[in-house]
Amino acid sequence: MQKVNRLKPFFENIAFEREDNHMIVNFGPQHPSAHGQLRLILELDGEKVSKATPDIGYLHRGMEKMAENMIYNEFLPTTDRMDYIAATANNYGFALAVEKLIGLEVPRRAKVIRMMLLELNRISSHLFWLATHALDVGAMTIFLYAFREREYTLDLIEDYCGARLTHSSVRIGGVPLDLPKGWIDNLNKFINHLPLDIADYEGLLDQNRIWKMRLEDVGVVTPEQAQSWGCSGPMLRGSGIAWDIRKEEPYELYDEVEFDVPVSTTCDSYGRYKLHMEEMRQSVRILKQLIPMYAQTSPEIMAHAPGYISAPKEQIMTQNYSLMQHFVLVTQGMRPPVGEVYVATESPKGELGFYINSQGDPYPYRLKLRAPSFFHTAILQEILVGEYLADVVAIIGNANIVFGEIDR
């Protein structure tokens, strides 16, 4: 246990010069392939890593502390800044946790819109993952192609909520807007074309000698390791464990749509690459089923719960009591019941969990963000050992870590 105070600061006791053949390399925190501010202290035995110590915290903004000092609605835009590649997934996780805390049922149309946005975010995140990962490994072409398609998902999201990076496109109790005119047509165009694009990527990569040499049997995570280190999402399914929260603990309308949970049993980076490709196809499949479901819903998009959720704008502007309630909810904030919830959702990176302890105040007493990347970075200290230095970049890229949610 370190004992630190103002007079005795703690310094790492790392010997960068050693007598034997071992060398210590500081990887990051400003390394383009670290996908953020990741510092890795690598002990090398020749070309092989004999010890890896990830060092994080360079992007720490104290989101949990911020959450304790904000009303629930105020905190929602902050969640955008966690996994900024798929911001809606974070917004949604938080909104769902608060809804569970209150015990709120969201209108069906809002559910459909949320699912559409979530799946678009998943596609966007996976495309980003593929692009940057391929670029790290040396495949420039894929980077350009995948970013082109990602642009279409961002355009769709922008059409809906006006933002491309920090969406805030979900509200506690529903969604802020209905789908704009012509949005469904654009979505249709996009999802009809995406499977062809995915086939293109696979044509470029699947049998590519360099790609296979760089990924096959690299970054092996055994099922035991994956469970013990708390892996989730593609990192877990890449180890042969079929666990998808959308399937096992369905939220929204995931129990009404048909989709498969792809699993890879090879446990290596190549298997996880195939998994991401298949997941995008499944997302397209879900989106295709959602379009007819949307047409059948009634137009409400926000839950009716006057104690917690503001009334629709027209009502606020015409009815005095709604205006008063809106004023109280904006200035003081909602007061959820006393209790606690832990709500996990399947974000593109894995299990995104929100633990909220409410004491009946407008501010949560404790809010813990469970970010999947945090645990996927922790496992690096075990899976990097024995790998070559050149593969470190491939493994970090493959783990799909985003520092916004690791450091929070």
Binding site: M1, Q2, V4, N5, R6, F10, F11, T53, I56, G57, H60, G62, E64, K65, E68, N69, M70, K100, L101, G103, Q225, Q227, S228, W229, G230, S232, I241, W243, E248, E249, Q332, G333, R335, P337, V338, G339, E340, V341, Y342, A344, E351, G353, Y355, N357, Q359, G360, D361, P362, Y363, Y365, R366, K368, R370, F375, T377, A378, I379, E382, D407, R408
Partner: protein, 266 residues
């Protein structure tokens, strides 16, 4: 005048208005017997350990145990009751209320598709045993908990701050941790390096890069009231007539006041 009382144990933001008749509702706690799987889990644990309280809230089992049993309880849950994931592990600060931390372990069983929360209380200086031998995901979770709350863990191989810098003072998620720096923190460098008497000369640190100070004539100029660089600002209007020597070509004498603005282009 009396100074208004403020709770030093909890300096976090509070609601500025409380309706004194408002009683916050409780999320219902269901009996463990309502769920077959959870009832079995609790029965197995009760045979071995002291279970202080057990209930189901929002579909998840919550059990309170003795903090000294934490490793063996989790070991039992993993090996016998197939809770194979530790999803999350952290603490809640109740130091102001009872001088305790509430520790929670959020577990998941992928085969039973059930989530369970194991909770225990420890005193502020009490040592908690590390559960890294049972779940490796506790490695960083425990480091973060130490970093954020100062919960002391024994048996961890690399107990070191994880998010904050190594030489950071205090633990940020405690309720006693201030939300803003105080006067000492604000002037810390100037007091240390130059001395207190230099506070006026150097001035406070300006963190807002978009700040405009109209008294600052080093960096800003007031339109129509320009003064030389660094001079005292004045309210006198500056002359804006053309000041080229010998006047402007063709224009003999330009008077701004006489200028006319035409309504239409000729």
């Amino acid at each position: 005048m009396m100074r208004s009382y403020s709770d030093k144990q909890n300096v976090q933001k509070k609601a500025y208005y409380n309706d004194r008749y408002f009683v916050a509702p409780q999320i219902p706690k269901e009996d463990v017997e309502t769920d077959e799987i959870f009832a079995n889990d609790v029965a197995v644990l009760k045979g071995k350990f002291e279970i202080k309280e057990a209930y189901i809230q929002r579909g998840q089992l919550v059990i309170y145990i003795d903090a000294r049993d934490n490793v063996s309880v989790l070991q039992t849950l993993r090996d016998e009751l197939s809770y194979n994931f530790l999803s999350e592990h952290s603490a809640i600060d109740w130091l102001a209320k009872s001088g305790e931390f509430e520790i929670f372990y959020q577990l998941l069983s992928s085969s039973k598709c059930k989530r369970l929360r194991v909770k225990c209380f420890i005193k502020e200086k009490e040592v908690l045993k590390s559960v890294i031998g049972v779940y490796k995901s506790a490695d960083w979770a425990e480091r973060e908990m130490y970093d954020m709350f100062g919960v002391i863990i024994s048996g961890h191989p690399y107990m070191k701050r994880i998010l904050m810098p190594d030489d950071w003072y205090d633990h940020p998620l405690r309720k006693t941790y201030p939300l803003h720096g105080d006067e000492v923190a604000q002037w810390y460098e100037i007091d240390k390096i130059f001395g207190k008497e230099y506070r006026d000369i150097i001035g406070p640190e300006e963190r807002d890069s978009a700040r405009v100070d109209e008294r600052d004539t080093y960096r800003f100029a007031r339109l129509n009231h320009e003064v030389p660089f660094g001079a005292e600002p004045s309210s006198e209007k500056t002359v804006t007539d053309y000041q080229e020597e010998g006047g402007v070509f063709i224009v003999k004498k330009l008077k701004k006041e006489d200028a006319k603005i035409v309504k239409e282009r000729y």
